[in-house]
Amino acid sequence: MVARRFSTLELIGLGALYVLAPAVVLLGLYFVDRPDSPPPDHLIQPTFFQHSFVERPPVSGWRDMSVDQPRGRDETEPFTSIWYQLPLEGLPENPALLVVFPHAMLDVWRNDQRLYSSGEVRQPLRYERMPIIVPIGGVSGGDRLTVRMSRQSSWSGLGARVYITTAEQALRTTRSIRQIHLVLPWLILAFMAAFGIAVGLMYFLRPSQTAYGWYALMVTLWGLKTWHLLVESVPFLHFLWFSLGFVLLLWLVAELYFVNRYFAIDGYRAERWVSVISVVGLAVFVILALKAQGSLGFEILYFNARVVLNLWFLLVAFYIASRYFVAIRQRADFDSVSLWVASGVVVGVGIRDILFEQSLPINIVIPGTTYYLQYAVVVPLGLFGVQLVRRFVRDSRLATLRNEELNQLVDARTRALEHSYKKLGEEERLRVLAEERARLMRDMHDGLGGQLVHALALSERADDPDLQRSLRLALDDLRLIVDSLSPSEDGLQDLLASYRHRISKLLQRQNIDVEWHIDDDVATPDLRPDAALSILRILQEAVTNAVRHADCDRLIISLSQNADILVLSVADNGCGMPEDVTEHGINNMRVRANEIRAQVQVKSSPGSGTKITLLIPLEHTV
């Protein structure tokens, strides 16, 4: 199959779609992400942030605060902090501090009194993942509020919207944010989990389609990452949990495998290298993370490993992007269009998230309350999922169709075989029957017939006319038997033809004219040999009677069919006889007729000839 390529117009359309799709997705997300926020003038600005962790803000006039901080750490400590500080003046009634999505550890002081703390700033860090409300208490002149947000490593992404507003407003905001950012993500997570399980099942059903497996793995890793953003504390591997980079890296590797298989593009060597380097790098990373617990040297190594890992990340991401590009270049179909749209969404939403993150410490208002990328990733994942399900359904249908076709073919062949088998059986039966008849005939011909002819020859020499007649009768009867056994297509018609041929010379010599009226429509192809023999014998008897006793010069033999009754009659113009006569073989005829449930009717009166009619019901003769 030669894949179509995109035309220029289509490429322009795709370009527009690339911008339009993320805009639509962002609009949708903004539509959902509209918490009941405090007014913008309640927002407070950070006063200071520093790349390394410090116990107190290095601002002159900063009053001493007791900061519960483990001692013995210097500035190499891989933590970052950001400070907010403001005098408690002109605040609303019942004021409260509201921090939206800190994604960091949070500490709040009023003067040197600690109002809130996420805990000690040391591994494992406990990030606050949901909005925090800290009641401030009554306003008094000269008091100062201090907020510190701390996070591991770089300060990028550190910071949040911090408001001082009424406690009621803070509660309303928190409630609406929880609704949006807990209910919705969990729903999406559940939905994607269902997708992942479904595709995983497909992989189980069709192990040859590895794209299904890679997709399921991708969704699982994405789910892990999303789950991590939702839960406040993870019950295991805290030390790793903060560097979910490893999950993302695995996700990327799975994606690389998936894309190559999904689009059936070659990249096996590269993907092997990528996966080997990623797995080895991750192993090193995990070992360093383990060793970093309590050893400063390893902590520094661990920190640097993270930087390298992040760089590797970018490399792999770029490589995957190039794979997408290859796929789109190779094929212009719904798959590649959907992929294009999805990557547009990811890039668009990603740019928005970067802007959002950069704006957080300085509160340039980028709409929305949190990062969107983890949700936007659902778009490509969902599209891939839908496509995979479509593929699966299509393949299954095709398979079902093929199966049906195959079944029909098999059925037809079976029927044909059965038919020919039956036919063969029937033919075999007929063949055996014909062979048996032929054998019987040969035996009679070569044996009995020869013997009778031999005896006839002897009787000629002995000049014994009685014996001769008797032997001729025997021979005649034998011929009838042989005739009745002969296979024929037209049944009785053929038998009558043979009989007619045989007696014509005899009758000619006796100067008897014979008229034959054989109805051409009479058809008895399946005449039984015994019935045929009975009919022939009766006919012969009737003809012999006429020739010997009737003193006639005219004979009319006719055969016709009346519905299911065959009517065979022999009429002469001879001397006739009483109708109730039983001699001259009439009785004999009746006995024979009885055997085949036929009837013999004799119509005669002295001086006006005799007509013998044989009525043969067809149902008993076939």
Partner: protein, 223 residues
Amino acid sequence: MAKKTQVFILEDDEQTRLSLINRLEREARFEVCASAGTIGESVPLLKTQRPDVLLVDLQLPDGESFGLIAAHTERAPDVPVLVISVFGDEKRVVSAIEAGAQGYLLKDDAGEDLTDAIDQVLAGEAPISPAIARHLIRRFQVASTGGAPKETAPRQDVLSEREIEVLRLASKGLTYQETAKMLGVSVNTVGTYTRRVYQKLAVSSRAEALFEARQMGLMSVDE
């Protein structure tokens, strides 16, 4: 006085042979020049004798006589062969016709029937029975019976309409006289048609019988 018709008889049963000779020689115009009981006996006899007609039984102690018929017909096409049998036994009679025979007789035919048949053959006609006619119709794939052909027809010979008609009427048991009356031709013509049908059959299928004759040593290979 006209020369007597010389008849050669091949019949294994002695009594039957004698009876046949007896019946034939009752008529002054026939003379049995030689008779044999086996194929082996008849081969040297046929080389020395010059019969006008052969009466040949099909089943003999030393085999079936198709090869002999074929060899004889090859050597002396003008000397007709009549098969003598107890019954019509059409299958074997047809095989004999293929080998070159020109008709058949029943062994117990009365003297008149016997001499009639020989006269007929000598006059260039050929006796036929309904069963044989049916066989021939099938062989030549004639659609007159409406049935499908059962055997492969000889290719080189196609029957004329008249020949087909003669076969069709014969298959219904009509005598030559009746057939001649129906077709408006002489009895002789009807017999000639039959003879021609036989010849056509033989021309297209005698090779096999000849091969058999060579196998049996009835003919030399170069003959």
